[in-house]
């Protein structure tokens, strides 16, 4: 099994007594797309800067493709394509000119340079603006120039700090597809606040709060881990006292969540049902049972999944010190 693309073990970074990163540990396997989530000031950008070798850590171990970042920062720079927060770009250069310079700085030889530039410009949909001055581009294009720069030398690891911030929905989808297209070929680490984006793009998620890792797992597993199995939500009219007996006949683990909400004007109330983690999907059984029962009228049935946002809020709830 090849070594993980990124290995962070007990990373600590303290600024003059203020600890920004406190013993953060996580691993990223090759070809994975992983999201780093956290509130502002949680230590995400600091962690990413340490990964790229730009900032030195106070203590801990960071390896990229098996190479220790502290011991060989120069070697690690060849392995990483990085787009910092706020995507800093020189405003007085043209897109093609800038990417050409970056490619040469990253070691692309003349022979591979032009075809690779064309490939990246096509991939990031920058064809229309290749000769425009960067300072005059819209935010969406600037973001894509930043991503183009990161993937230019085809590094094994790509680190993007807030790649979709400030973009409109079309541009977000474009960037999302771009990143998804890199899966498998390159390992991608994204830091973001935009939870639906992270949920849609990432294989795994690491949530950081106040410098510590508070949750880690896939966007599918985390909600179940943190907030329990998904519940069922019914819009039902009928004698609610008879419901528990009915539910017991459907499945013994199904239970009614007590609620004091009164029924609406047409007699329908929103009912929540809870089940244990092992119960199978009971939606079809519930629909059939309730439809056949003349006492009840069913108007709607959903199984609202907890989103990553719910997990994030639960995991980063401000704690008393």
């Amino acid at each position: 099994m090849p070594e993980p693309a990124i290995l962070v073990r007990d990373l600590v970074k303290a600024y003059a007594g203020h600890p920004a990163v406190r013993e953060v540990s996580f691993e990223v396997a090759r070809g994975e797309i992983i999201g780093l989530l956290g509130p502002n000031g949680a230590g995400k950008s600091t962690t990413l800067r340490i990964l790229t070798g730009y900032l030195p850590a106070t203590s801990g171990r960071v390896e990229v493709c098996g190479i220790d970042v502290a011991a060989n920062p120069a070697d690690v720079k060849n392995l990483i394509g990085y787009m910092p927060e706020n995507n800093p770009l020189p405003d007085d250069m043209r897109v093609r000119e800038y990417l050409d310079l970056r490619a040469r700085l990253k070691g692309l030889t003349r022979r591979h340079l032009a075809p690779r530039l064309d490939e990246v410009i096509h991939l990031c949909d920058l064809g229309r603006v290749r000769d425009r001055i960067i300072g005059k581009l819209s935010k969406g294009y600037r973001q894509r120039v930043g991503i183009a720069d990161a993937i230019l030398a085809e590094p094994p690891v790509i680190i993007l700090d807030e790649p979709t911030i400030g973009l409109d929905p079309h541009q977000i989808i474009a960037v999302r597809n771009l990143i998804a297209g890199l899966r498998g070929r390159m390992t991608v680490l994204i830091s973001s606040h935009i939870l639906p984006e992270v949920e849609a793009t990432c294989d795994r998620v690491v949530i950081i709060n106040q410098g510590r890792v508070v949750a880690a797992g896939s966007p599918a597993d985390l909600p179940r881990e943190w907030l329990g199995p998904p519940a069922y939500e019914l819009e039902l009219a009928g004698p609610l006292e008879a419901l528990p007996a009915l539910l017991a006949s459907v499945h013994p683990a199904l239970s009614l969540v007590p609620s004091s909400a009164p029924p609406g004007p047409e007699g329908f109330a929103v009912i929540r049902l809870a089940a244990s983690a092992e119960t199978p999907d009971l939606r079809e059984t519930l629909v059939n049972t309730l439809a056949r029962d003349p006492r009840f009228r069913l108007r709607g049935l959903t199984r609202p999944r907890h989103t990553l946002e719910d997990v994030f809020l639960a995991a980063t709830r401000p704690k008393a010190a």
Partner: protein
């Protein structure tokens, strides 16, 4: 080495396409042109002791104090403010390569501007008719002084730019450092305290660093390698401090 050349080529190209460079060059030549014309008038009015070239270079501090901060203040401070220093330093380039490339580009521009003033002397020779008004010695000595002392002045400007993210602060810091170096040492040389015997060693050191003395020696044709060493070692020291300045801000940002 390859990366240094790429960086240097990029810096030079950005200087050549930037309108600010040409505005600065025009203003510089305008000012020096007036100075030169003024010198010619003084010389036609009455014969002078020194050669016109020597007098011309005696006012070297005027463009140095104003041009060097203007040329260098943007170099590192702007990149730090924009954040592009971070993207630059996460590529395989090293900090010394970045600092040296910026220094070399600013120095090349500085030399080019001074070389353009050679045009004034050429015009003079061309239109002076039969007499030989220009002594080549002081002229070459003067330009040599500019080239050698320029290394230290530009390096100080680069250093000033490396310790701040604000261009204005960088410019003012460079101005103050140059002022202290050129005029400050002159004042220090005239201090009464140094005339005491016990301070003879210190007096010798202060006399050694007198920039105007160096200028006189160069224009008289005396190229003292100790003075050349002073500038080159000062330049190296300032660039080392600039490299440290870039890395220190990284550590404590």
């Amino acid at each position: 080495m390859r990366l240094f050349r790429i960086l240097l080529a990029h810096e030079l190209r950005m200087l050549l396409v930037s309108p600010a460079t040409y505005i600065a060059a025009t203003l510089f030549l305008l000012v020096m042109g007036f100075v030169f014309a003024g010198i010619l008038e003084t010389f036609t009015a009455a014969p002078q002791e020194a050669a016109p070239a020597a007098v011309f270079f005696q006012l070297f501090w005027l463009p140095v104090f104003f041009m060097v901060p203007l040329l260098t203040m943007k170099s590192i401070a702007e990149e730090r403010r924009l954040g592009t220093l971070e993207t630059l330093l996460t590529t395989p380039v090293s900090t010394p390569q970045v600092v040296l490339a910026k220094f070399a580009a600013s120095y090349a521009l500085y030399l080019a501007l001074w070389a353009a003033t050679g045009g004034f002397f050429y015009i003079l020779v061309r239109f002076a008719g039969q007499s030989q008004p220009i002594d080549l010695g002081p002229l070459l000595g003067g330009y040599l002084f500019i080239a050698v002392s320029g290394t230290l002045f530009v390096a100080l400007g680069i250093f000033a730019s490396s310790v701040t993210r604000n261009q204005a602060v960088a410019g003012i810091l460079a101005f103050v450092l140059l002022l202290a170096l050129v005029i400050g040492t002159r004042f220090a040389g005239t201090m009464e305290l140094l005339k005491l015997d016990s301070f003879a060693g210190v007096k010798a050191a202060v006399d050694y660093i007198q920039i105007f003395t160096h200028l006189e020696d160069f224009t008289r044709g005396v190229v003292d390698t100790r003075q050349v060493l002073y500038y080159l070692s000062g330049c190296t020291f300032a660039l080392l401090l600039a490299i440290l300045g870039v890395e220190a801000r990284q550590l404590h940002s």
